[in-house]
């Protein structure tokens, strides 16, 4: 069952002709037919297109020597429904796009295709990436492969569930306040949010432009390194992408951590953490020490203000970015007597409840008379939060925290209370405000029910190499990342 392989093992087997790209793609499609009627990780798939790409990869795999510049030749990678893939649907799990077909490839998709990957499927998400549970999708919730009564996390819930359930080899998600790391934690896979500017946002539908980054969800840290090698790098089409050299992220992977200095920010270890999560994180810290890391306590004093600052800045940016969905050039339209009535009716009918709520909040905090009190103040608090991290990284190489305070919660549990839902992102938001990199790696399970727990590693700007090294050494020592959910999720 080649769909169960890690990306790195699959690449080896494809090169050795132990399996063909078509066989892998067929295995993924067969797995999707088996489990996705229950999980609903995918919004749509074009099987003929996927198999045609796999066959093209097989033709190149048949010619020796293999091309050096195609490290993902024949590897099926699935994509969150917020990233443009030429001639494929793009809906952001919203009704307002009304069957939009992308006219071009996002830069990350161009890079994946150039690297030989088989790019397939549209993965479910919270509408416009606004949410922490995938319950805000206009097309129905995705279920957690470990317990189908629970959410997979969000907003990249489909991306995490599809990887955990072996419906694909790896996937792409996007992370604005934890939307890669939190679902990775809840579904038991690895999720990496790169440093702001590390990966091009060209072709990513914008939610909050100063916070959004695309990143990989994978079955191991090595797989995340292999995908980051391909998608990272400067892009002239994204003026916020940074012209920083891209290292080989697999080069520093080692089985030990001698000489590394890790910090435990004490503000992340106060009340509200599930005791089983706390126990798993404590055990992980001991394991990292056993691997040679030096661990010390430190303080990020402005942590408690991150949720408030984030939901002001993110909704403000969202209210501006989503102004483009007006029914004029694309998507759904509801007619009105004049253009303004048409805009309002189109947006009222096309957007879901959480998106409308955030547009209202974002418009309010930017509006005349409230701008200074909310938006400008939040931007200043953002400076303090960022400075906390930069200070911390003068004495440590990375920080260790839980990815989320709890394991996956039940479907419907927080759906009626936006503030409680916003607070579930408490450990992941600061990373985006500070523009640093973060990674979630599986670090154990709760007892009953058996649900994955994630360890979050936070690193300085362009510190991805360090995070991947830590996660890899930890995986080698523990094997948590090899655990698989029950073979067939029962509805």
């Amino acid at each position: 069952m080649p769909n169960r392989l890690t990306l790195s093992e699959l690449v080896r087997q494809l090169a050795a002709r132990e399996v063909s790209a078509r066989e892998v793609m067929e295995a993924c499609l067969s797995r999707v037919r088996e489990v996705d009627p229950h999980l609903h990780a995918f919004l749509s798939i074009d099987p003929d297109d996927a198999l045609a790409q796999a066959e093209a990869a097989d033709r190149r795999l048949a010619v020796r020597p293999l091309p050096d510049d195609q490290p993902l030749l024949g590897v099926p990678v699935a994509v969150k429904d917020v990233i443009a893939v030429r001639h494929h649907p793009l809906n952001c799990a919203s009704r307002i796009l009304g069957g939009f077909i992308s006219p071009y490839d996002a830069t990350v998709i161009e890079r994946l295709k150039a690297a030989g990957a088989v790019v397939f499927g549209r993965l479910n998400m919270d509408e416009f990436a606004m949410g922490s549970s995938t319950e805000n999708s206009a097309f129905g919730v995705t279920r957690n492969p470990w317990d189908p009564t629970r959410i997979p996390g969000g907003s990249s819930g489909g991306s995490a569930a599809a990887v955990a359930a072996d419906e694909c080899i790896a996937s792409l998600g996007s992370d604005t306040g934890g939307s890669i790391r939190q679902p990775a934690s809840f579904c038991g896979c690895v999720g990496l949010k790169p440093t702001y500017g590390r990966v091009s946002r060209y072709g990513l539908v914008a939610y909050a432009s100063s916070l959004d980054q695309i990143g990989p969800l994978t079955k191991s840290a090595r797989d995340a390194a292999l995908l980051l090698n391909v998608i990272a790098g400067h892009d002239p089409r994204d003026s916020t992408s940074v012209p920083e050299t891209v290292p080989d992220y697999t080069a520093a992977l080692a089985p030990e951590l001698h000489g590394l200095r890790l910090g435990l920010p004490r503000e992340y270890f106060i009340g509200g953490i599930d005791p089983q999560v706390r126990r798993a994180i404590d055990a992980a810290v001991s394991q990292l020490q056993a691997l040679g890391a030096d661990v010390r306590d430190l303080s990020l004093p402005h942590t408690e203000y991150a949720v408030a600052a984030y939901y002001i800045i993110a909704t403000a940016e969202a209210s501006a970015n989503l102004a483009r969905f007006d029914g004029v050039r694309y998507g759904r339209r509801v007619d009105g007597a004049d253009p303004v009535e048409m805009y309002a009716r189109t947006r009222g009918a096309g957007f879901g409840t959480e998106v409308k709520r955030r547009i209202v909040l974002g418009t309010y905090v930017l509006s005349s008379g409230y701008y200074d009190a909310y938006y400008l103040r939040a931007q200043k608090v953002r400076t303090l939060i960022r400075q906390d991290f930069l200070n911390a990284f003068e004495s440590v190489d990375a920080l260790i925290t839980p990815t989320a305070p709890t394991p996956a919660f039940r479907i419907g549990e927080k759906a009626g209370d936006p503030l409680q839902m916003y607070l579930s992102d408490i450990f992941t938001l600061s990373c985006n405000l500070a523009g640093i990199c973060g990674l979630s790696v599986p670090c154990g399970f709760t007892d009953a029910p058996r649900l994955p727990i994630g360890l979050q590693l936070l690193g300085p700007p362009f510190g991805e190499t360090t995070l991947l090294r830590i996660a890899h050494a930890y995986e080698e020592a523990t094997g948590w990342h090899c655990q698989k959910p029950p073979p067939t999720p029962t509805p």
Binding site: Y196, S239, R332, Y343, V360, R377, K380, R386
Partner: protein, 95 residues
């Protein structure tokens, strides 16, 4: 402290967003709670702090101004909800 009031109807009009009366009532209550939560930012003295708009600021970014192929007319109109004569069609603006 009294929960801040948000006049959802006025804000939605600024955002060109029509809401049902039920949504207006729901959002007023929920966003009142959220804004009350945000009041905590007032505890910090930020009078001498510069705002951060981007965590990794880059200034005056330009790319080479070279002509290259872009979307065809047909592709640009492909997702249009209404079009005529190769143009996007919208309700009449000027009588």
């Amino acid at each position: 402290m009294a929960a801040p009031q948000i006049h959802v109807n006025d804000v939605a009009r600024l955002a060109r967003l029509s809401l049902t009366p039920e949504e207006e009532t729901l959002f007023a209550a929920q966003l009142g709670q959220v804004l009350a939560f945000m009041e905590q930012l007032n505890r910090l003295d930020v009078s001498h702090v510069e705002p951060t708009a981007h965590a990794v600021p880059r200034l005056n970014v330009a790319r080479p101004d070279e002509p290259h192929p872009s979307l065809t007319h047909e592709e640009a109109l492909r997702n249009a909800p209404a079009q005529t004569n190769g143009l996007f069609l919208v309700p009449r603006i000027v009588e």
